[in-house]
């Protein structure tokens, strides 16, 4: 544990440094800043999703829905009620968290593909609801919103985003390293044993949804403020799929992994932009390639540098692979 900690600290520090230095490096380019902002938005969302899927084992393929909710919350509260920024941003998390609670309640009973479909339905429904609830959401034409005066400049606002991102990384890091995070992983690994060790499984599952939705909501809120406009088209099911891709590509159950995934999936399309019609193919190839050749995600590249002395009593990765192979399909789900 301690070893892990000392290993992780320097490069966490590096990351923060990079974060802070980025605006200076890119100077006045709004384009590069905007890529950076989207990286932050997706990184927060991917981390929140990873908390739910990677750590907690609860599949959600409708997470983009929470992003939309966060964005709309900010837009509605700002334009319709005229609330101040400092109140609206946390509220976007709170309201999305409440929605997460509502989704989490029925989800507690479901697992695997069943949960996937329910969350997919949520992801599909949010844009439809936004489209139809004209009076609140502005329907197809969306809602414009303005940043407060003191943040109207992009190069000022980016520091808010950096600050939020760093704080959220820190909080999520604290959560997953804590007893709470351990309880989430325990639920993922064995619900029966988790219950026997005194973990209130339904409560914790719901809690996971709430926490995940809360931070995703804040990411959505930041997005709304950044673009200055929210619409039903912003986050589709496709975004949810990409988010899934991010956490798997980066490395499941790893906060740095989620960040790496977010960076790749935000930067890659920008690099391939000029190749007409190829963006999706390239992203697809990247996904397939990474999963085939780095099944534990890109984060496993970093872990290679950490030399691991296997204890004599321990089988290594190969065995892991085999013991997975032994676990049959239906048996894996039916928990036989």
């Amino acid at each position: 544990m301690k070893q892990l900690f000392t290993n992780r600290k320097p490069w966490l520090f590096l990351l923060v440094l990079l974060f802070l230095a980025y605006p200076f490096i890119v100077g006045q380019s709004v384009y590069l800043i905007s890529i950076f902002v989207m990286v932050c938005v997706y990184a927060i969302t991917a981390m929140a999703l990873d908390l739910l899927i990677g750590f907690g084992g609860q599949v959600s393929i409708g997470h983009a829905g929470f992003l939309s909710v966060g964005g709309y919350t900010v837009a509605i509260l700002t334009t319709k009620l005229g609330l101040p920024f400092l109140l609206v941003l946390p509220l976007s998390g709170v309201i999305t968290g409440i929605i997460g609670l509502l989704i989490g309640l029925p989800a507690v009973r479901l697992s695997g593909n069943f949960l996937a479909v329910v969350s997919l339905g949520f992801g599909l429904s949010i844009p439809q609801i936004a489209l139809n609830w004209d009076s609140l959401t502005g329907g197809y034409s969306g809602l414009p919103l303005a940043r407060p005066e003191w943040l109207s400049n992009d190069s000022q606002f980016i520091y808010v985003i950096i600050l939020m991102t760093v704080v959220i990384i820190w909080i999520l890091h604290n959560i997953v390293k804590s007893r709470l995070g351990r309880a989430f992983v325990a639920i993922r690994e064995s619900e029966v044993a988790a219950q026997a060790t005194g973990i209130n499984v339904p409560l914790y599952k719901t809690l996971m949804f709430v926490i995940s939705a809360f931070f995703t909501g804040i990411a959505g809120g930041l997005y709304g403020y950044w673009i200055g406009f929210v619409s039903p088209n912003d986050f589709s099911v496709f975004t949810s799929f990409l988010l899934l891709g991010m956490i798997v590509i980066g490395g499941l159950a790893s906060i740095p992994g989620a960040i790496i995934g977010a960076i790749i999936f935000t930067v890659l399309p920008e690099l391939t932009k000029s190749l007409i019609g190829l963006t999706n193919i390239i992203i697809g190839i990247a996904i397939v390639g990474i999963i085939l050749f780095r099944p534990n995600g890109l984060i496993s590249l970093l872990e290679m540098f950490r030399i691991k002395k296997p204890s004599k009593k321990v089988m290594d990765e190969q065995e892991v692979y085999l013991s997975d192979l032994e676990q049959g399909g239906a048996a894996r789900d039916a928990n036989v």
Partner: protein, 420 residues
């Protein structure tokens, strides 16, 4: 294995460095941007003009990319013939997958990294809305974007010019007017796509139908662009017994509703569909048989069926050359026409190409019919651009023009009655 991983890691870092380097380049160049109005605008050199385009190339509505192909074909044609004022046109097109986020990202890249002179034909209402403020602040000319929402052009914004399609509301007005006055519609039903394509014209019709005495709205049904099953809507329409049915949406659902109505025998009622859905014969193919017959629609471009028209011939010939595997549809033609308008404006701006000159040149368009559009007009107070439309009817597998051009006057909001 370790080595391979390391190389990957290095590659990953390189990406970052690359991004960083790009950044520095930008920051140093930025100060020398085209602020001085006597100098050429950004993206313009002695022999090249760079212009940008952001639209879906992949994803659910990737079909909009055919618009780019139309533009591209025309620019190739112009470049092969010496360009405009000695400058070749270079089109930089980015994929936004119909997502506002990406559209706004693209806008920033086009303007700051690629330093384009103008953007043309950006598709999608939401995408355009997301990037609107940025373009307006930067002063980049936005030429004929692919959205028919009124808010973009009315009230006019200095650097926002027109749209590639008929304004949704104007189109609705013209069609309702035609239906009532020429086709004798009394009991009207509306089907509309539940997004900008459908709701804007629907709202307009609802608003103005009161001004037509004796005409009533008997049914409204909605659908989503990706819908395929329309029996419920067809049933509802049948029960309302309308004499005219409007349908505002894109081609696939509009055709599918027609098929569903045909199936249950709701075939004699007049069916009027938006111009983006009914503009070309492709609808016949999709609907199959004589399902599509007698469908009314509107057109703002010269009909592709007009085989003898020299412009159409040139277009078809060039397009076949540039994109041999693609079908020349209405949407491709629309891209070609937008490019025509753009090139014409360039020509009219003269050699000293600045944003001001360029934007001012648009005000000289008065019912210009040099492009495929029936008429293009701009003025200080009119940024609609496309103000002329004619009605069409599907007959014997062809789209036939059945009225003269009907004109809309943005200043007064009036529409002229078609001359028979």
């Amino acid at each position: 294995m370790v080595k391979k991983g390391f190389t990957l890691f290095i590659a990953f870092m390189m990406v970052f460095l690359l991004a960083a380097c790009n950044g520095e380049k930008t920051s140093s160049n930025n100060t020398t941007g085209g602020k001085d109005s006597n100098e050429l605008a950004q993206g313009v050199t002695k022999n090249e003009i760079m212009i940008g385009h952001s639209a879906p190339q992949t994803g659910p509505v990737a079909v909009y990319d055919t618009f780019r192909k139309g533009m591209d074909t025309y620019f190739q044609y112009i470049n092969e013939n010496g360009g405009v004022n000695g400058r070749k046109i270079k089109l930089i097109a980015y994929d936004d997958q119909y997502q506002p986020t990406k559209a706004s990202q693209n806008a920033k890249k086009l303007v700051e990294e690629d330093k384009v002179f103008a953007v043309i034909g950006n598709q999608g209402s939401a995408a355009n809305l997301a990037a609107k403020d940025y373009y307006i602040n930067k002063g980049i000319p936005v030429i004929l974007p692919g959205t028919g929402l009124k808010g973009f052009v009315d009230p006019p914004v200095k650097n926002w010019m027109g749209a590639t399609m008929m304004n949704y509301e104007v189109e609705a007005q013209i069609m309702l007017n035609y239906a009532v006055n020429e086709l004798g519609a009394k009991k009207i039903a509306i089907a509309y796509q539940n997004d900008d394509f459908g709701k804007a014209p629907y709202n307009k019709i609802k608003e103005i139908i009161k001004t037509y005495p004796g005409v009533e709205l008997v049914a409204e049904v909605t659908y989503l662009p990706a819908d395929t099953e329309f029996s419920a809507q067809a049933q509802k329409l049948q029960q309302a017994k309308p004499d005219t049915i409007f349908n505002f949406g894109v081609m696939s659902p509009v055709v599918n509703l027609k098929k569903a109505m045909y199936k249950i025998g709701l075939d004699k009622t007049k069916y009027i569909v938006s111009s983006i859905a009914g503009g070309d014969t492709h609808a016949f193919q999709l609907a199959g048989g004589d399902v599509w017959e007698r469908t009314y629609s509107g057109g703002i471009l010269i009909s592709l069926d007009d085989e003898n028209n020299e412009k159409i011939k040139l277009f078809k010939e060039r397009f076949k050359k540039s994109y041999p595997n693609e079908q020349a549809t209405n949407f491709v033609e629309s891209g070609w026409s937008a490019a025509q308008v753009f090139v014409e404006a360039l020509k009219r701006s003269g050699d000293n190409l600045t944003w001001d000159n360029f934007l001012k040149s648009f005000n000289t368009f008065d019912n210009w019919d040099g492009s495929m559009y029936a008429g293009v007009s701009f003025s200080e107070n009119n940024h609609y651009g496309i103000t002329k439309m004619y009605m069409t009817k599907a007959e014997n597998g062809k789209i036939v023009q059945i009225s003269d051009s009907i004109e809309f006057e943005p200043e007064t909001g009036k529409i002229s009655l078609p001359k028979k």
